[in-house]
Symmetry: C2
Subunit: 181 residues, 2 copies
């Protein structure tokens, strides 16, 4: 099953529901991964995503200095790996090796993608104006691809304290959407 | 069933999973409501939430000028009302009256809460530095209350195109959380 490119203006389809994601980065010959739940879509086009990356994380300076990362979408079945990646630091461990994950070459950034994840959103740092005050990075998604199947993968949504919630039914109300998309 | 106060540093329990929320506001004698999916937690304490409120919405200038709003959490059963509120504007309709919603007095802000929603997070505008460039409001939650039951209400997560996803199972991996909360 080959990942297929996804329209950049519709990254919201995957991120707006609020899933836990894995941010992969590359800096000075080292790859790293962190778990992230604090993100939001900011604009359709250019395709902007905001992420709160705490300054205490190794990823913070690596992503800031390289100006790049990949937002990887893991399925809920990766819950143990997702938890562990978010509870150790790239200063101590090579997380790709430690957790048996495979690097996949990205299209537009030097940060590697995580093959085991079903979706990838390659990002360039677009505006760091809020980084000093809020650790809030504004990224532009410059390439996106997603597994075509399943159409509705199970993701995780973090509530804190080691507890997650998965996804449920899909409901549609298209007829009521006369104004917004 | 009386709503109970919720710890301000733990607002993330309700918003980090990415539910669609209803923002209520008050300005110059008028109440208004908009639907919002683009939000993220930014800090535990002070309790900060970022919201992208498009400048084309009536809510934009009302919230900016009053410096206040309430983030209301609706259950999935309110899907029709949630869709409709997000597809009409307070410039044309009184949404409380139109959708049969009840105003509830807020504790710390003059914006009304929506009684029919199971949770309320009263907000003061904390930083508007990103409003001109990104329509991104940083709010501080100054009061919070939530229905004690059910423990895991069904919320909605918007994917675009009039389609939502609900919540699923609750999974815990507490033993793996040795570092983060
Ligand atoms: C489910 C989960 C969600 C997390 N969300 C965030 C987040 O939004 N922002 C953040 O800075 N850290 C978050 N973390 C914590 C980082 O992933 C963690 O500090 C990690 O060890 C950082 O790795 P690094 O030092 O290699 O960059 C989260 C952790 C978990 C387990
Ligand atoms: C599910 C859903 C999610 C929405 N999310 C947002 C959002 O994050 N930001 C935004 O500015 N508008 C969002 N909207 C659109 C506003 O709710 C809509 O423009 C509304 O009519 C604004 O009302 P107002 O003009 O009374 O402020 C959303 C609408 C729906 C239905």
């Amino acid at each position: 099953m080959k990942k297929q490119s996804w329209p950049l203006h519709d990254v919201r389809h995957w991120l707006e529901p609020g899933p836990v994601v894995l941010l992969s980065s590359h800096w000075q010959g080292q790859n790293n991964i962190m778990t992230l739940g604090w993100h939001t879509i900011l604009e359709f086009s250019p395709s902007l995503v905001g992420c709160m990356i705490s300054a205490g994380n190794a990823s913070f300076s690596r992503i800031r200095q390289s100006g790049e990362c990949v937002i990887n979408l893991p399925e809920a079945s990766m819950i143990d790996t997702i938890s562990r990646i978010g509870n150790c630091t790239g200063d101590d461990v090579d997380k790709f090796a430690e957790f048996g994950l495979t690097t996949e070459k990205s299209d537009k950034v030097s940060a590697p993608s995580i093959k085991e994840c079903f979706g990838q959103f390659e990002c360039r740092l677009y505006d760091d104006a809020m980084v000093d005050n809020y650790n809030f990075f504004i990224f532009e998604v410059v390439a996106a691809r997603v597994n075509p199947q399943p159409e509705w993968p199970q993701t995780l949504h973090y509530v804190g304290g080691g507890v997650f919630r998965t996804d449920g039914d899909v409901l549609e109300r298209k007829a009521l959407f006369t104004k917004v998309s």
